[in-house]
């Protein structure tokens, strides 16, 4: 049974029957997948219940040398498909030594033991200062609102996917009338990275 038919069945029969938040469980399984392109379902995929204007953030680990595809869908509210906004963010943490000199005051004496004043004794300590930069690796609003992001990474890394379900005005909004939530699937797929050269 194709994913489209499954999605239709869910939309027409399953979702209206019961509580929305409950039914969002595992909804990502009904997002259109890219099996034909060789991708397999990645279990870091996530499902959730959104109201319009919601933002959510998911942290995933991507392995070196693998190809990943990230996409979003709402099988329960197809009118939302194509409107999702998302960013792929990486936090880069760097540690640097920072030298700090502090002074303590000591009384100074002459050769006869008489106090002649005070002197400042410098003491240098090193501190490790960590700086974190939030680097936006991809922003679909800067890519004609593309709804999928396919990439390879040369290192294993941790990424944050920030998902935003925009407010919809006019006729499109009508589809959500009377329902507090729409179910959204964050689909992550992967396959072994494309090799180049004679091994390809």
């Amino acid at each position: 049974m194709s994913n489209l038919i499954k999605a239709l069945i869910i939309t027409l029969f399953v979702l209206p029957l019961s509580n929305f938040a409950q039914d969002c469980n595992n909804i990502v399984r009904y997002c259109p997948h890219s099996k034909k392109e060789g991708f397999v379902f990645n279990m870091q995929s996530e499902s959730g219940a959104f109201v319009q204007g919601d933002t959510s953030e998911v942290s995933i680990i991507v392995y070196k040398g693998m190809e990943y595809k990230i996409s979003l869908c709402s099988p329960s509210h197809p009118q939302l498909n194509g409107t999702f906004q998302f960013k792929i963010v990486e936090h880069i943490t760097r540690g640097e030594w920072e030298e700090k000199t502090t002074y303590t005051t000591e009384v100074e004496y002459d050769d006869y033991g008489l106090e002649i004043g005070e002197k400042q004794i410098p003491s240098t300590t090193k501190k490790r200062v960590y700086t974190t930069e939030e680097i936006i690796r991809y922003d679909n609003s800067a890519d004609e609102n593309a709804q999928e992001f396919t990439f390879q990474s040369n290192k294993t890394r941790k990424l944050y996917i920030k998902v935003f379900v925009p407010e919809m005005g006019g006729e499109q909004e009508m589809g959500l009338e009377g329902e507090s939530y729409s179910c959204v699937g964050l689909l992550i797929e992967h396959q072994s990275g494309v090799k180049t050269g004679f091994k390809r």
């Binding site: 959104f50 936090h91 040369n154």
Partner: protein, 305 residues
């Protein structure tokens, strides 16, 4: 920020691991200096930070990790698997859940190498443990029929996919039924076993690629802590989190080398994420890690935790 990929929100907590989170900001590049600690010269200590529970932390499955075996030359070693006869020792739900994770990883390892007999044996033991843990949707007769068909057809790819599928079924069942504590224990058990297999397969002098993948597990550990943080009010979860500290101590203090961050676009519209940190592990660090992993893994499989 709403947290739509989560149903339950709980209080923020602090852990000792080197986990840096920065709240969502609108700026392209956001820089923040973490709280300093006065240190003696040459001392390096990882920064401390909070887990942000508005973020959903995901942990890759053992199956996904083991796909790296297509890039490195290692052989299957049945001696690394937890003996199926050990199940007799598992009486509490905590130890059952931990070893459900251990056996799931063993299954992924065996299936990855097309070890049909071992795979079937581990499918069986996981099913029994699953029944005892009331994770009863992961394995039905249909799955077992498919496993046997694939074993007869010598189809290792499908066997691997089936092991993946059963793990996912158990995972989603527990998650959807608000049994996050049990799920946390399963995920930890699986992760510890995968690290046990990797550290015992690697030859420090030879397998530099595998060694680098082991060092990468620091990232998975961060997300593992983030994942468990939501359920730490459960004493079983908080205890297992504490037992990870010796592993954390090694992984979070590895030396790193930075390269410049670049994001490239290919002609076909796909992207390349380049740059960032490479982590290096000395022989001593590797030995310490292996020792810590072996100790924790053995305490799990021997039901001494």
């Amino acid at each position: 920020m709403n947290n739509s990929f989560k149903i339950i929100a709980k209080a923020t907590s602090v852990f000792s691991f080197a986990f840096i989170f920065m709240a969502c900001q609108n700026t392209e590049v956001n820089t923040e200096k973490m709280e300093d600690m006065e240190l003696e010269e040459q001392d390096v200590e990882a920064p401390q930070s909070d887990v942000d529970l508005s973020v959903t932390y995901q942990v890759p499955t053992p199956n996904e990790l083991f796909t790296l075996f297509s890039d490195v030359e290692v052989a299957f070693d049945a001696n690394l698997l937890n003996s199926t006869s050990n199940t007799e020792k598992y009486s509490s739900n905590k130890i059952k859940a931990l070893n459900f994770g251990v056996y799931s990883t063993d299954l992924a390892f065996a299936a990855n190498f097309g070890e049909a007999t071992a795979s079937l044996k581990y499918f069986s033991v996981i099913k029994n443990l699953g029944d005892e843990l009331n994770v009863n949707n992961a394995f039905d007769q249909l799955v077992f029929d498919r496993i046997e068909q694939n074993i007869q057809a010598n189809n290792s790819d499908s066997l691997f996919n089936l092991s993946n599928e059963t793990y996912y079924n158990a995972y989603t069942y527990l998650k959807d039924n608000d049994r996050g504590s049990t799920l946390s224990l399963i995920v930890v058990g699986g992760w510890v076993e995968s690290l046990y297999i990797l550290t015992n397969l690697v030859d420090y002098e030879v397998d530099k690629e595998l060694l680098s993948r082991i060092a990468d597990q620091r990232l998975t550990l961060e997300n593992l802590y983030g994942f468990m943080a939501e359920y730490q009010s459960d004493s079983d979860v908080s205890e297992i989190m504490a037992s990870l500290l010796p592993i954390e101590e090694v992984l979070m203090n590895l030396e790193s080398e930075e390269s410049s961050i670049e994001t490239g676009v290919n002609d076909n519209g796909t992207y390349n994420l380049d740059g960032g940190a490479d982590f290096f592990m000395s022989q001593d660090e590797f030995n310490s890690l292996k020792e810590a992993v072996n100790a924790l893994r053995n305490s799990i499989v021997e039901s001494e935790i």
